[in-house]
Every structure is written in C-alpha cells, then in structure tokens.
Subunit: 424 residues, 4 copies
C-alpha cells in the first residue's frame, strides 16, 4: 500500500504523462511540413512548442534536481528558451523560430522521450527534501504545457489561415446545428466590498494572488456572450468606419491594418464565412463572436451603449458558478451557441472574455526570484486581462481566479466578449 | 455695478486674456527659426502650439457660438487640428508638423489676434441661453491652452537637446544652491473604503470623475520624491544592465534605444551633467530625479524593494494637503530639492509622479458626445496615470484629482517618482 | 598694370564674389522660416546649403592654405560637412538637417561674410607655390557652389510643394505664352569610333575624363525634348497601369509610391496643373516634360517604341552645338517649349536629359587622393547619367562633356528626356 | 530510323528528362523540414524551386501548346509564379514563400510527375507547325531549370548557415589538399574594335545579343582569381574600416550590416573558418575568394591599386578559351585553387566574376513580347554583370557570352573577382 507521499507522486506522474501525451495527440493531424511554420511573430511553430515545453522541464526541474542528468543537446537551451533572461543562456530570436529546419521533427520527439524518461525518474526518486519545490515546479510545468497546447491550436489556425489553399487541421470536427440565439438577458449584482484572487489549497499562478478586497459598485452583466449576429449588426451599422466608437490606438490599428471584420471572417459574394480548425464555414449568427481584439470588443460595447465588465465584476459573478462550458476536451475546437435556460451562461470555455481591466499586479504581489519569476510578473504592463478560458483550453487548467492577458490589438486567440453596465 | 453674470464673464475674460498672454510670454526667448522645429513625433513646434490652441477656441467656441464669425484662414482647420476626428476636417499628419514653413510666425500671431478679438466679443455678448455651454467650453479651452504651455516648454527642451550646440532657452534662470537631500521618511496611511475623483463645484476634466468609492489597503508612502543621488545609486548598481528589475516591454525599450540613464543626462569625463532650459548643469544629487519613463520608475522601485503608489493612494494622501510646490509661475523651470521639515512634501509641482495605475475610465464614466468628447476618453488604454503637476505646470491648473497620462516609454515631460509600499 | 598672374587672381576673385552673391540673391524671396526646412531626406534646407558651401571653402582652401585662419565656429565642420568621410570630422546625419534651428540664419550669413573675407585674402595673398593647387580647388569650390544653387531651387520647390498652402517662391516670374509644340523630327548620325570626355584647357570635373574612344553605332535622335502633351498621351494610354513598359524596380516603385503622373502634377476636376516656383499653373502641352524619374523616362520610351540615348550618343551630338538654351540666368526657372526651326534643339538648359547610361568611371579614371576625391568617384554605382543642364543651372557651369547623375527613382530635379533609336 | 526532326525531338526529350532528374538529385540530401525554409527574401525554399520550374513548363508550354492539358492544381499558377506580371495570375508574395506548409513535398513531387508526363507527350506529339516555338521555349525552360538548380544550392547554403546548429547539406563532399597559391601573373591584351555578344546557332539568352562592336583600350588581366589569402591581407590592412576604398553605397552597406568579412566567414579564436555545403572548414588561403558583394570586390580592387575588368574585356579574353573549370557536375560544390601552369585560368566555373559593367541592354536589344519577355529585360537597371559560371553551375549552361546579373550588395551566390588594369 502506497503512503500518502507516494500516492501524490504517482498521481502527479500520471497527470504529467497524460498532459505530455495530449500535446502529441494535438499534433497528430499535422504534416511534417506544418511543424516548422511561423507566419507571424506571435504564433510559434508546433515543433518549437513541443521542444520549448520540454526545455522548461529540463531547465527548471531536471538540471537543478535530477542528479547526473545529461542534457539532450547543448544548444537546445538556446534554441528553445522563450524569453527567460535570467537563465543566462540567451534565446534564439522569437521572430525567427520558423527559420530553423533542424532539429527535425523526429529529433524533437526524441527530445521529448529523453525528457519524459528523466522526469519519470525525478518524480519517483527525488529526495523528500527537494519534493516541495519539485512539486511546485512540476505543477507549473504541467500548467505551462497546457497553455502551450492552447497556443498550438491557435497558432496552427493562424498559420493555416495564411495559406491560400486554406488547409484543414481536422477533417472530422463536429459542426453544431444552426439555432436561434437566446435573447440576451441582464443579471444584476449588488457588488460591495468583495474579495477576489486566489489562495490555496490547489495550484494557481502567482498573478492570481494575493487574495484581497476590492470595492465593486452595483452592476448588471449579460447572461451570455455577444454573438456573431449581434456583432454583424455593428459592422452593418458602419462600426469599422465610425471613429466615435473607438479608442485612439484602436482606430489607428483599424486604419493601419485595414480591419473591417474580426480575424478569420471572409466575405465571399456578400456572404460571410469563417475559417475554423475544420475549414471554412458559413457564419453562424448564434455562435459567440470570436477572434476579436480588445479594441473591437471595446468599440462594440461603446456602440451598444454598454461597457466591458471589470475583471473583478467577472470574478465576483464566476466565483459561485460551476465550471461548465466547452473546453478542448469536448472536441469542438470552436465556440458554441449559448444553451437555452436561465442564469449566467458561457462564463467558462468557448471564448476568453476581454475585461475592462489592465493587467497589473494585485496589492502585495511579488514575482518569485530567479528566472521562473519571469513567468507572469514582467508582463504586467500594456496588456488587458481576459477571463474564463476557451474551447481550446483544458478544463482542469481553468479557475474563476485565472487571469489571462494579451495586448489590446491581438486577436488570434479564441477571444470574445460579454457586456456589462452600471446600475443607475 | 456689474451683476453676477457680468462679473463672471468679466472675470473669465480676464483669465482668458491672461492665459493667452502667458503662451506668448513663454515664446519670447525664441528665435524665429525655433518656432518650426519638430525633432521627434511627440514634440510639436512652438508655432503649431500657438496656432492649435487658437484653432481650439475657433472650432469649439467661435464657429458654433459667435454669429457672423469669419475664420481667419480656410485651411487652418486642417493644419492645426491635432487629432479630433469628429470635426470632419481631417488633420495634417502629426509627424509632419515641422515640415511647414508657412504660415509664418507673424501670420500665426495675427491669427491669435484675430481669435482673441472674436473671443472677447463672444464672452461679452453671447446670449444668456448659450452662456452655460460657452462657459463650459471656455474653461476647457483655457485649461487646454495651459496644457499646451507645459508642452511648449517640454517640447522646446526636447528640440534644443537634439542640437549639438545645446542652445539655451533662457539665459537668466535661477539655479538652486546645492544642498544635502533630506533623508527619506515613510508616512503610514490606513486606507479603507475611500472616495476618489472630482465633483463640482469648480472646473475639472471629465476623466477625473465620477467621484466613487475604492478600497485601499493600509500602505506607506515616501515623504518626498526620489532624488538624482538615489537614482544614480541604481545606475551604479547596474540598474540598466540587470533584466530582473524590468518589465518585459521596458527591457525591450532599454535594449532597443540603448538607454543607460534618464533623458537629458550626459556623461562627460566621468561626471554627469543634465540639460536644462537654462543649459547644461552638473547633476545635483538632491534634486528630484526627472525625465524618467514609467519603465525606469518601475525598475527603480523594484530595485529599491518598493513599488509605485496607485493613483488612489496618491489622491488619498494629496486630498488633504495644500497645493504647495514649484510651478511654472515660480520661474525655476526645473524641479527643486525637497525642503527640510516633517510631513509629506513635493506632492504638487516639481515633477509629475508616475503611479502604478493604468489610465482607465472611472466607473460610470462616459465621454461627452461629439468631437470635444475626444479630449480624454479615447486615450484610456495603453497609458499610465501621473499625478501632481510639475515645474512647467500652471498652479491654477492642478488639483488633487487631476489625472495626467502618458505612454510608459515616454520621458520628455518633467516626470519622476515617489516610492510606496504595503503595510505588512 | 597687372601681370598675368595677378589678372588671373583678380578675375577669379571676381568670379568667386559673383557666384557667392548669387547664392544669396536666390535666397532673397525666402522667409526666415523657410531656411530650415527639410521635407525629404534628399532635399536640404536653404540654410544648410548656404553654410555647407562655405564649409567647403573653409575646409579645402582656408584651413590648409590661409596661414593663421581662425575657423568661424568649431562645430561647423561637423554640422556642415555633407558626406566627406576622410576629413575625419564626421557629419551631422543627412536626414536631420532640418532639425537644427541654430545657428540662426543671421549667424549663417555672418559665417559667409567671415569666409568671404578670408577667401579674398587667400586669393590675393597666397604664395605662388600654393597657387596652382589653390586655383584648382577654387574652381572646384566655385562650381560646387553653383551646383548647390541649383539644389537650392529644386529643394525649395520640393519643400513648398509639400505645404498644402502651396506657397510661391517668386511672385514675379514670367510665364510663356501657350504655343503649339513643334512636330518632332529625327536627326540621323553615323556614329563610328568617336572620342568622348573632357580634356583641358578649362575647368572640368574629374568624372568627365579621361577623354577616350568609344564605338557608337548609327543612331537617330529626336530634335527636341519630349513634351507634356506627349507624356500625357502615355498616361492616358494607361502608362502607369501597364507593367509591360516598366523596368522591374521601376514598377515596384510605381506600386509602392502610388505614382500616376510626374512629380508636381496635380489633377483638379479633370484638369492637370503643375506646381512651379511661381505657383500652380495649368499644364502647358508644349513645354518639355519635367520632374520625371529614370524609370518613367525609360517606360515612356518603351511605350513610344524608342529608347533613351546613351551618354555617348548625346555627347557626340552636343559636341558640335552652341551652348544655347534657358539657364538660371534667363530667369524663367521653368523649362520652355522648343523654339521653331530646324536642327537639334534644347540640348542645353531647360531640363536635364536622362540617358540610358549607368554612371560608371571612364577607362583610366582615378579619384583624387584625400577627402576631395570623394566628390564624384564614390558615387559611381547605382546611378544613371543625365546630360545638358536645366533652367536652374548656371550657363557657365555646363559643358557638352558634363555628367550629372542621380538614382533612377529620383525626380525632384528638373529632369526630362529626349528619344533616340537605332538605325535599322 | 529516325528522321532529323524526330532525332532532335528525341534528343531534347532526353535532355529535358536529365535536367529534371538532376533537380531532384540535388534535393536528395534534404530532410522534409528543409524543403520549406526561406531565411531571407532572396533565397527561396527548395520546394518552391521544384514547383516553380514545373510551373514554368506548364505556363509557357503545356497550357498554350498541349491540347487538352489539365492543370495539376488551379491555385499553383498563383503560388508558383515568381514575378511574371503579364500572365495575369498575380503571384504569392516573394518574402512569404517560406510561409506555406502546403502543398506538401510529396504533392510537389506529384506535380513534377504530372508535368513531366505531359511534357513527354508534348515533345513527342506536338504539330510540326508549333515545333519551332515549342523548341525555343523548351530550351529556355531547360536552361531556366538549370539556373534554379544553382539557386537551390546557394539558397540551401544560405538557409543552413542561418541555423546555429550549422547543418551539413552533404557529408560526403571531397575536400582539396591545401596548396600554395600560384603567384599572380598579368596577361596583356591589345583590345581594339572588337565584337561581343552572342549569335546563333545554339541557344543563348536574349540579353546576350545582339552581337555588336565595342571599342576596348589595351588592358592587362590577372591570370587567375583573387584568393582567400590575398583578400585576408586586405582585411588585415583594415579594408573594412577605411572608407577610402569604398563606393558610397557600399560603405553605407558595410556600416548598416556590420560587415567585416565575406559572407560565411567566421572567426573563432583568431582563426577564420568558412561555411561550405559540406560544413565548416578552416580557411584555405589558396582558394578563390568567394561570397563577396560587388562593393567588396570593387573595394578590394581599389585597395590593390587595380580595377575590375569590364564585361567586354572579360568576354574578349574568354572568347578564345576552352570551357574548362569546376562546374556542378564535378561535385566539389566549392571553388578550387588555381592549377599551376601558364595562361589564363579559372575563367569558367569555380566562382562568378564580378565585372565593372552595369547590366544594361546591348544596342538593338528588344525584350520579347508577352510574359516570357520579362525573363531578362526588365532587370536591366541597378544590377552589375557577372561572368563565367561557378562550381554550382551546369557546364552545358555556360558560354563566353553568358551574362549573369545581381545587385551590388548581394553575396550569397558563389561570387568572386579577378583583377584588371589599364595599360599605361
């Protein structure tokens, strides 16, 4: 019979193995040629993702904690470091991740095997004295790989959408029956002096804490996400032509990039189509609007006479809700229309929801020391918070306190919005 | 005897005249050649400032409210509009403001005379029914011109610093005696559920309201600004070489621009000098550090083991303080060392203080409709809040609720910082 | 009675004074504000031209040859050097010549006075032993200043055309009566083994020699320049839309810049106007086409089924012709229609003629040693040869062997073309 | 027994098949991952080369001449057109050739099979009336594929050199024994009125004609190429630091790019190494200098007190020489040291020789009409002529009249130089 510690280790070993396996499952539909692509600087090649997450375990677990560990290749710490400056190894320039045909895909899979074997040993054999720190880092590493699984999918979508042949990532994805969208209803919250942020037990990222009090005035929030159909009305009302709806930086972006619809929307003979991981599909008005920048989300809310919720309003609403919604395990890889029924819907999964909150540290926040402290803290400027996860997120990766963050102009993630308003 | 309305009008007419005159006083030391300079996109030529503020009165007051008003020149609405999209006139590209030798300086002064005459008539004669809106806009226009007076000074400093001859804007500026900086002391505040933001009576910008409640945890704040001497210790400790202190976007900026000190610092034979509006001066360690980006302010605070105050902490502290400090009227045009003595010092004037707060709308904020609504609201993204005014700000322009905002990389304003920290 | 040497010196002193004076005459119509403008990198501010030509005399004549010469300002060798690397002083970046408000215009005129006084002394008093080299350099300096006089005019035109107010440089310029263009006639030349290039006596630039033999096959050349009317037919035939007429780099330029007509052409309500130094004028179909890149000249010739002459064909034709044509002294500052009559016309003056010859060294060419050797030789790559001078060139500056050169995309000089073709 | 026409067709069919096969032979050492790489805009992915040359046959031969021909894929005319504007199909942007993972490598090989089958039928069966034009285009197509074979090799070298792992294209390349370089000797030519350029019979590109007379003054030319050892002396003499040797555009390039040696040279611990298609090798001083821009070739010649030969001098010398040298078939894929012995050496093969001649049309040159006319003519501006072929060129692709051309800053081809000088 296992004692508790062994049980914890064994369970984490299983979780590690399962998460690692899932990264490779996601790559199954790819051709070798697809593994090296980087069509824009923010989207990395699948091969790079597969190697980088392995580098993470190697760097933060195997090298410091597995005695006698031999690195797989001496240059990989340079090639597959993403942005951790304090490791001291430097890193291959991010815009050039697609310019390396070697190591080959097969070599990267060998690298994963090498790391997996060593991680198995480390989990089983590391001294008790090291275990607390190993466990802490292991959980970060597992969650880190889950984040890259989501990026794998969103980056593949970005790469394939750039190809005029519009390749399909999956030919076997289910497609929802078109349905009428449920009418939008408003739910009212009293707010007050509430508590937000994570505290144990259970894993959470450092940027989710410390738990602390904030004052929230009474507000109303929409019971579901904004739909394609609603967003289309904004477009048809000249939303992309009228400056009055836009933040100044957003309007500059619209002009510079010639935006006239969300990413992946395509007009063909007067009909709108959308690119999905299962190929081109006609626009379904009931589905949540997706692949929207913060600027577009904000402009839509302004046009609608509403606003985005703050991250604290959102968390206040979500804290009491079950973690229901469509995640990556559900296999749609595309957001689904809101189900009928009362109460708040679509908080989790489907699409990340832009909030009106800038990504800044919570009171009392301190980055961890060393390179691992670069995980979240150094990005706390210039970005906006998104909440709730998407159809490409793993279900056990998400929490009501989870803070995602992107620059306001970015839109290649599964990103959408929900409206809110002040109570008079 | 004047009735109340006439008294109000007459007093505003005086204030208008005085503020307009001060803009021209500030330009007295310039050569004609200096009026057209634009060495970087964010710093406009003096000539443009002088004309733009006049365009503002013409566009928002004279054209809509002074019957029979004849514009001075039909193209000026295009040349001297800054960024108001909803006027429908378009505007000359901001990066090219220095590429227009005509209208000449003399013509721009004629334009000012033309506008001033018409404004005098409008203030004296506009129908009572129009007066509330005219008064509202007039106050905005006067405050707007005061903001451009500050920019006039900071832009001239920027232009002259680019010239290898290092011209002097003023040859007659007073210079403070070097003194030892007062030791930094910490003041503790309980915080709690407090109120922030402006409400009448008296003028304030729309971005200062609505007044609302926020929860502030107990905190400590420094009794004075960070000094040159303290910042020099950060530099000497490798501050600009060690990534661990920096936000990621800040570090990228440091690398890209080769920053190794604040703007206008110059090392000559191992001694630091600073460019001032009165020419090059040896660095005074007791003076407040100035011309710092948010990135540098944040990195300094991280290095010091502290943080920046939030804008609400700052306002909470400032709300009960007198509006004491060195403003433009004091004629130093350079920040001064903290005076000896107890209590909080240098809150107002000397240098704008970077806060840790992103510039976002207050709960319930709505932009005004029309072009005048573009004044503040559309910039509520991507910028950080600064508080307190500077040695180039007019004293009657500042309030404890006043929110200034700049991009985190900008540093040509008189910008510095004050430290804060959480109570354990 | 003067001896021959004194006569030579005195005559050169006069020519020096007259050329220097003419630079200032050209600046008379300018406002102080116009002196500092630089709207594109290739067009320098008038103030810079006035100072640079003075720097040239200071650097190459006064410093090495006038004993006891005191430079006017120690930083001017840095500010007003154009591109001479071998002087060792470095130079202020060319794109930033418009970013210096100081020295003021008055100071630059003082600089000129300072240099002129010293030059007068040098010419009068320099030892006989130095005179040959002084005379050689003086002639280069005088010709150099004449080149900058032409640039002064073309740069002012460029700066003023950028201003939406379209200022006039001169309000008193004569305008030619519209006339029918003379029909184009072809003149046939036998060619053969001919001699080209300059040899003494008399001043010529080093790039015009050595005189040498080239073989020229029989050819025909147009008796006059291509006219606006003829070029308009090319435009109306879709010249700027049809790739078949264009060199690849030219077509890329047309697309990138959105070219649809020569520089300074402007379509208003279906009519073409052209910007001149005397303001906007309706297009005169009889005038020579002007402000054309090599790409456009070449495309026009291809469209017309002809080609550009080589620089040797042109020189062969020009060698036997009188130096007749409209130069800067004629005061039109704009090209004029061809006069009636037989024989070759418009070879000299009016517009520089693009040839089909790349600017390369003649056989046996060697740059002079030292910084002065950078005058012509280092540009012998990537540029094309133009011949004949323009309405902005001084008459005594031009020769049949004179080689001007610009990059193929440039068009702000008075540049046009003449057609040629092979004999069957 | 075959009649003459059948024999011609059969021989061309064989040559076609052999050339097509060789392209694929060159790709044998590649991993699938290598096929899609494009590390700089001028170097295309191997996959693109393989498809583009097939598109060429499809577009210019199969579609117009093979009745009933079915294109392999309707989008390939867009994806694999390089720059032919007059086909009317447009083309995928050149800088993005590496951003397409599909079609896969296997699909591109299928495309080649499809085209080869059709070409076989066309050559065997096309009507006699079509044959002259088919034969003309077939020869262009075969030569075109040979040019891309050379690019395949130079582009792979460029791609691999960008990878910090420095992959080897071939592990089995022979390496020459180090030897002393032969002393350089000068050969004198009288020149005179000579004939240059191609005329039939036999295939040549249109840019090689018409054959015509040029006058060439007496000159001397080096009996062999400049060597690594000689070029190293230039570097050690500060060649890359002294502006006096450089053309202005070349010097700007050196500064901008930080050049301090030819492409692929790498200094490790004070020793120079060079990247080859067989990996890193120590610098061999006897080998010809290679991977040099025109700017560097010209600067070297200036430093040496010599000059580059003109293309006519080169052709005059080469016209009487046998086509001896190291070509791609010799299997070195790297230039070799000059053999001992008298007479002119290394004219053909080894490295392309930069000449001092700008790439301009010969007298009487006319581009062919239609898209095929875009092959050479539209590039006759801004580039310099190279002569003689390289170790990556097919032997039967080269002639004494062959004109290659590249921009002066390009250096990723096997490019070197030979010195010349004027006879006194």
């Amino acid at each position: 019979m296992l004692d508790r510690n062994e049980a914890v280790r064994s369970s984490l070993a299983q979780r590690y193995a399962q998460v690692r396996r899932f990264s490779e499952t996601l790559c199954k539909p790819l051709a070798i040629e697809d593994y090296g692509l980087q069509v824009v600087v923010e989207a990395s090649p699948p091969k790079w993702h597969l190697a980088h997450v392995s580098w993470f375990f190697e760097t933060f677990l195997l090298r410091p904690f597995l005695s006698g560990y031999q690195v797989f290749h001496p240059r990989f710490e340079y090639l597959f470091n993403s942005y951790y400056e304090q490791t001291g190894t430097g890193f291959w320039p991010r815009p050039e991740r697609g310019l390396l045909s070697r190591p080959t895909v097969a070599e990267v899979y060998d690298y994963r095997r090498h790391v997996d074997g060593a991680m198995e040993r480390l989990i089983a054999q590391c001294p008790e004295a090291d275990w607390p720190e190993v466990e802490r880092r292991l959980l970060i590493g597992i969650n880190h790989e889950q984040q890259h699984q989501e990026l794998l999918l969103t980056d593949i979508k970005r790469h394939f959408a750039h190809n005029p042949l519009r390749p399909l990532y999956r030919t076997d994805l289910p497609v929802a029956e078109p349905a009428s969208p449920a009418p939008l209803r408003w739910l009212e919250y009293e707010g007050g002096l509430i508590e937000v942020g994570a505290q144990g037990p259970g894993f959470y990222y450092d940027n989710e804490g410390p738990r602390h009090r904030v004052f929230v005035a009474p507000f109303r929030i929409a019971d579901r996400l904004v739909t394609n159909g609603e967003y289309l009305a904004f477009i048809q009302d000249g939303g992309y032509q009228k400056v009055a709806f836009w933040l100044a930086d957003g309007w500059a972006q619209v002009k510079r990039e010639g935006w006239r619809a969300p990413l992946y929307w395509e007009e063909r003979d007067g009909e709108w189509w959308v690119m999905t991981l299962g190929g081109m599909r006609p626009l379904d008005p009931a589905e949540p609007i997706c692949h929207l920048s913060f600027y577009e989300a904000d402009a839509y809310a302004t046009w609608a006479g509403k606003r985005l919720p703050t991250e604290f309003e959102w968390e206040h609403v979500a804290a009491s809700q079950p973690l229901a919604g469509h995640f990556v395990e559900d296999g749609w890889l595309h957001p689904r229309a809101a189900p009928p029924g009362d109460g708040i819907k679509q908080l989790f999964g489907d699409v990340w929801e832009w909030t009106g909150s800038a990504y800044r540290p919570y009171p009392g926040y301190r980055s961890a020391p060393g390179a691992l402290g670069e995980y979240n803290g150094k990005f706390m400027c210039y970005q906006m918070v998104l909440r709730g996860g998407s159809c490409a997120t793993a279900r056990d990766h998400i929490r009501p306190t989870y803070r995602n963050f992107f620059y306001p102009h970015e839109r290649w993630q599964f990103m959408g919005l929900r409206l809110a308003e002040d109570c008079a």
